[in-house]
């Protein structure tokens, strides 16, 4: 038990030293990594919520993000709603979609095996991708807002300001989720269900209601992420798919139910990626580093557990 604070301090110390070294060596990479890591965290947070509380492996996570981006694109093209403002309607549209998906599909596989859940969510993913291909074809779509490529200059560098919204929103969503889980009755019930669903049921918590709410909120958060990504991302049927794997990786790195860990992990991986990309000739190694860092963290944690 005494070893834990020592480990925590040591980890923090190593992290701070690393950040200082990177800040001196590659200041721009540090900023890019912070921004990109914020996006990874923003997208992974709702998956962490679903996995931590409902325990369902949602393989369609990134595809819901894709769908939200297409809806956001339509709102911009047809109703001229600014992508940042569209985060609000997108949240509610996808909250409702999450409710519908839960009632029609997820609800029925909660008590069946993980393989059934995987097949179901894989099916949902395929439906979204194929539907997008049929309606919007494989040609990417983009929208233009001038503020998305604004920048500030310092020394010889020019750094984009828009992507600071990613970590800012990730922090905002994290705070909102923590408040929800700690300060509301439903949130407290969700935490209880996440820790021990059978026990929660015995003490009278309506677990189905908890699952319904948590799943819907998670899909709704993807609407927010889609809104902020719209001005900087090409939209095509597979836009969101790679984020599913990255989000699972982040959840594995942070540990089930650790929402703070998602933010720290996301930024750590973002910085690791950005540093590698900034070294000429080694850009192609970024995925290797991303998953290398992930493996290192998981193995270190496992080693510590076995020690304690």
């Amino acid at each position: 038990m005494n070893a834990k604070p020592f480990h925590l301090n040591r980890t923090l110390l190593i992290l701070i030293i690393l950040l200082v070294v990177i800040a001196i060596w590659k200041p721009v990479a540090l900023i890019y990594g912070f921004q990109r890591g914020g996006l990874y965290a923003l997208i992974a947070l709702p998956l962490a919520l679903i996995l931590g509380i409902i325990g369902i492996l949602n393989l369609g996570h990134g595809d819901f993000l894709t769908l939200a981006m297409y809806i956001g694109y339509l709102l911009f093209e047809n109703l001229k709603i600014d992508p940042l403002l569209s985060m609000v309607p997108l949240f509610f549209i996808f909250l409702a979609l999450g409710m519908g998906i839960y009632m029609i599909t997820i609800k029925y596989v909660l008590k069946s095996g993980e393989l059934n859940q995987l097949i179901l969510t894989f099916g949902i993913s395929m439906v979204i991708i194929q539907m997008a291909e049929l309606i919007w074809t494989t040609r990417p779509r983009n929208l233009y807002v001038s503020y998305a490529s604004s920048s500030v200059s310092f020394l010889d560098f020019s750094v984009g300001t828009y992507e600071f919204l990613y970590p800012a929103l990730a922090i905002g969503v994290l705070i909102a989720l923590r408040l929800f889980l700690k300060k509301t009755k439903l949130g407290q019930a969700a935490t209880a269900v996440g820790q021990n669903p059978r026990g929660a049921e015995i003490v009278g918590i309506d677990t189905n209601r908890v699952y319904f709410t948590v799943f819907s909120i998670s899909i709704g958060i993807l609407g927010i992420a889609a809104g902020v990504m719209l001005p900087r991302t090409s939209i095509f049927p597979l836009t969101g798919s790679p984020y599913t794997l990255k989000s699972f990786a982040l959840v594995a790195m942070a540990g089930l139910g650790d929402l703070n860990g998602i933010l720290i992990g996301g930024i750590t991986l973002g910085i690791a990626e950005a540093v590698i990309q900034s070294i000429p000739g080694y850009g192609g190694w970024s995925d290797l580093v991303f998953f290398g860092v992930l493996l290192a963290v998981i193995l270190t944690r496992a080693y510590r557990r076995s020690e304690s």
Binding site: V28, A29, Y32, R36, E133, T137, T138, R139, P140, R141, N142, Y144, S146, A148, S149, S150, S151, S153, S158, V159, G160, Y162, R232, T233, S234, F236, L238, T239, S241, P242, Y243, K246, A274, Q277, S278, P280, G281, G283, G284, S286, D287
Partner: protein, 409 residues
């Protein structure tokens, strides 16, 4: 006796009419789910309609039987088999992806029907077809021809506009397409260092760096753009996919990277790219632009007819290529006077169009391996006020080059 003679004559006329009405079957294989395949087959149908409306070929109508290769090699090969054995087509046309074509080539070799292909730029396809395949006609330029053409183009542009092009930076996506482009540029640079090849005058320095395409989960180009900015190239080329087109230029603006020539070389462009203010003055490699209608009667005819038939403009060069695909074959059959394979091959070798839907002449010449190659080079285009203007070939130019590149205020 008289009655019998009349009956025989009537039967003969009837038989000849029935025989004459039997269509000439053309089997087309394209990726119908992709915009390139969709548009090329639409243009083929347009050409078939025009030809049939004008009386067909050798008094017989053309019948186009279209198969979807689904951009899958196995589906492409199966489509060739089905067209040859079930539909019993007389000729093969179509094409897009090189990977799919590599799988189709063994099937095409099995049937050895006259084939006019408009896709597949990868030289490995040419090697797979081999020099003996006299039944094979390839209209799309091979990859090495395209690279050679760009060198010629930049040399002529540098001379015509009196600009300096010496430092070239290639940002390439890390997959097969991008690394293939990089390898070609390295070859050209090695030749240029010896004073040889089409790039000799415009490639004194060369740097290449890879990025992860947005199509494959990437989309952050800032590191590579900063590397390019430090190099300060005269010519910046990115070889990625359509999903990279807008984000890469947006991020170039963000990091304040303004190369004198900003060139994109993806196989396709996103929807409405020209309407995006960030596209202004971006240069692209391609074979066709709607603005060619201003300088080429054949390109104008194709464009107007396509828009009239489908109510929308074609978005890429596979549409005019598909149109030419059918007209080229039809002209060969017409010249041959029959469907005899050797006669058609001989006739196709002699087909020569002074103007085509691509705005340029078409004549068959040998390439490195195959005997029958159509077009050799791509064009240099530039987005100006939402339109793709032709900058090179200089004799087909629809506008002057806007130089140096800058972002629209």
């Amino acid at each position: 006796m008289k009655r019998s003679a009349v009956l025989v004559v009537c039967l003969a006329v009837l038989f000849s009419v029935v025989f004459a009405a039997e269509p000439i079957k053309i089997g087309a294989v394209s990726p119908l789910g992709d915009i390139t395949g969709k548009e090329s087959t639409r243009a083929m149908q347009l050409a078939v309609k025009e030809i049939n409306d004008a009386g067909g070929v050798l008094g017989r109508p053309l019948q186009l039987i279209i198969m979807d290769d689904e951009m899958k090699p196995a589906s492409g090969a199966a489509a060739i088999d089905k067209l040859a054995t079930v539909d019993k087509v007389d000729f093969f046309v179509g094409g897009m992806g090189s990977g799919v074509h590599l799988a189709e080539i063994p099937a095409l070799k099995k049937y050895q029907k006259v084939t006019v292909w408009i896709g597949a730029a990868d030289h490995n396809c040419e090697n797979a077809v081999g020099a003996d395949a006299d039944w094979y006609f390839h209209l799309h330029p091979w990859d090495y021809q395209q690279g050679e053409g760009y060198g010629i183009a930049w040399t002529e542009i540098a001379k015509a506009y009196n600009i300096k092009i010496e430092k070239v930076f290639l940002a390439y996506e890390e997959g097969a397409f991008g690394t293939g482009s990089y390898t070609s540029y390295v070859d050209f640079f090695n030749q240029a260092k010896k004073g040889q090849g089409s790039w000799a005058a415009v490639m004194k320095q060369f740097v290449g760096a890879s990025f992860k395409s947005a199509s494959l989960g990437g989309g952050d180009y800032r590191a590579i753009l900063n590397q390019a900015k430090s190099f300060n190239p005269d010519l910046f080329v990115w070889a990625g996919y359509d999903a990279d087109a807008v984000p890469i230029v947006a991020q170039a603006k963000e990091v304040n990277f303004t190369p004198k020539l900003f060139v994109g070389a993806p196989p396709g462009w996103p929807a409405n790219y020209g309407k995006n203010p960030l596209a202004e003055n971006v240069i692209l490699y391609g074979m066709w632009s709607p603005t060619l209608s201003d300088v080429s009667p054949a390109a104008k005819h194709f464009f107007d007819a396509y828009v009239k038939m489908y109510g929308e403009e074609p978005t890429g060069y596979f549409a005019p290529l598909g149109y030419i695909n059918i007209y080229f074959l039809a002209e060969g059959i017409k010249k041959a006077g029959s469907l005899d394979k050797n006669a058609v091959i001989k006739a196709l070798e002699k087909v020569e169009f002074k103007d085509t839907a691509l705005g340029e002449p078409l004549k068959i010449t040998p390439s490195k391996v195959v005997k029958h190659q159509g077009f050799k080079y791509q064009k240099i285009l530039q987005w100006q006020n939402g339109k793709q203007q032709v900058i090179w070939p200089l004799d087909l130019a629809t506008a002057k080059l806007v130089y140096p590149f800058s972002f629209k205020k």
